[in-house]
Amino acid sequence: MSLISCENLSFAYEGVTVLHDLNFTVERGNYLCIVGENGAGKSTLMKGLLHLKKPSAGTLTTGEGLRPDRIGYLPQQTPVQRDFPASVNEVVLSGCLPGLGLFPFYRKQDREKALRNMEALEIADLKNRSYRELSGGQQQRVLLARALCATGELLLLDEPVAGLDPLVTAGMYGLIRKINKEMGITVIMVSHDLKAATRYASHILHLGEDRQLFFGRTESYKKSAAYHAFMGEAAVHIRKQGKAAKDPAQADKGGV
């Protein structure tokens, strides 16, 4: 039995279906990238997988004893207020909450787990720093460490590198690969970056306007029509945006 399997899964907002008839499965150890245009419904699908949004049709089955509240999640945007007081340690530890059950306080093993995950993501030295004073890249690592505390099995990442500069982005991809390969955690990631997706992922789910264009192994995706159409479009898009993409305001946000 698969870790996750979807059959004819659909999602709707106020009666308007934004995703039709998704069919895909995720096996333990997979690295699935979900790609597609803005507004294709990638974030909606993530919320569905997290049971934050009910499907309007079809079935979503989780297998192998995967509990929906034991999934690590990195939201697309974490609208944390500019002046929110929280230390890195406090944020990462909050990922251990689902494991506490009804017990109110963190135990020794939770603190150790948080520290282990901070070390794995190379942020242990930031432990007592204030979250809001970190760079964008450092903040993403903190949220990734929190997600790791919540799960030992499955990680859902919604555009984890959005807004990061290329160097920090590469570091982030490296960490995610390490999590998948070394810790054996299944990864489902939403990405805009088709090149990175096809480079790192084992499987690709390509969402079109309102339905699924492709699901399968990355090697066969590279030979598919959906991939070439998307690449062609992306190339045109990049050429059009040429100058805008070099916006210097973006570049100074990263920097680990």
Binding site: I71, Y73, A86, E90, V91, S94, L100, P104
Partner: protein
């Protein structure tokens, strides 16, 4: 004048005020951090007005003030929470309606029955003398309960305040937790209102949190600092109120304002030395 301070403790009502006041100040400050960060400060303010309406009606009916105010304000807390979460655009307007509406009801009831007597004045501006022995016991029990519940839920409260989506995804019942926070706030507002006055009680909730956020940058740091600032300001305010016969609530608020500027000064000095070094 310093000689008057030992004398102050020979009065049982002052000892009661110090003991119960500190408990209330602590509860208000801790909950206040959450309310400010969750942008729920307006709810606290609305509740204090509802509390005034409830107290006015209770005194008109000759009923026990707390027995009437507690259930009414709790119900209002849940209603205000619902309004602020579900009608995004008109949430704050709805809160304003409820709070001014309750004030109007209260004032009307008062003028039709007892008139503007000292009791009513005390409901508005607070008094240390207003606490009977029975009130003191009830207030102490309620604030102790609020503290215990708050501590038990501290980690979960942090999680929903920091990132509600993540908390929900990891199985925390965020809706229930919000209701819990609203109910605890209602309790603190009602028991604090007698001493602080309904017009000033929300400052006891908001000030220590805002003050502490100038200087402290971790959630726990802000919590601890807010608790200390709040209790210290209460003790100072009560003493000033005793020495100069000033209204209790107003004296405490003035101390809180002073604390705010002290913290602001500290943060500015720190910024400067940081920028230099």
């Amino acid at each position: 004048m310093i000689g008057l301070i030992p004398e102050m403790f020979t009065y049982p009502f002052m000892c009661r005020a110090f003991a119960v006041g500190s408990l209330i100040a602590l509860c208000a400050a801790l909950l206040g951090v959450t309310l400010v960060l969750k942008r729920y400060s307006m709810i606290g303010d609305g509740l204090s007005h509802v509390g005034f309406g409830a107290l006015a009606i209770a005194s008109a009916m000759n009923a026990a003030p707390l027995a009437v105010a507690i259930p009414v304000v709790m119900a209002a807390a849940v209603a205000l929470l619902y309004l602020s979460e579900n009608s995004r655009i008109h949430g704050d307007a709805a809160i304003a309606l409820i709070s001014t509406g309750s004030l109007a009801v209260g004032v009307t009831v008062v003028s039709m029955t007892t008139g503007m007597n000292t009791d009513v004045y005390n409901y508005l501006f607070g008094s240390i003398l207003s606490m009977s022995e029975g009130d003191v016991v009830l207030t102490a029990v309620i604030s102790a309960a609020v503290l215990v519940v708050f501590l038990l839920f501290y980690n979960r409260i942090f999680a929903v305040t920091f990132d509600e989506t993540f908390a929900r995804a990891t199985g925390i019942r965020t809706g229930r937790l919000s209701i819990l926070i609203a109910v605890l706030t209602a309790l603190v507002i009602v028991i604090g209102m007698r001493m602080m006055g309904s017009l000033l009680i929300s400052s006891l909730v908001v000030f220590p949190a805002l003050t502490s956020m100038r200087v402290f940058k971790t959630f726990r740091g802000v919590m601890i600092s807010a608790g200390i600032v709040s209790v210290v300001c209460l003790l100072l305010g009560l003493t000033i109120s005793y020495l100069h016969a000033t209204p209790t609530g107003a004296s405490i608020v003035l101390c809180n304002i002073a604390a705010f500027f002290i913290y602001l000064g500290i943060s500015k000095v720190r910024e400067k030395t940081y920028n230099k070094g």
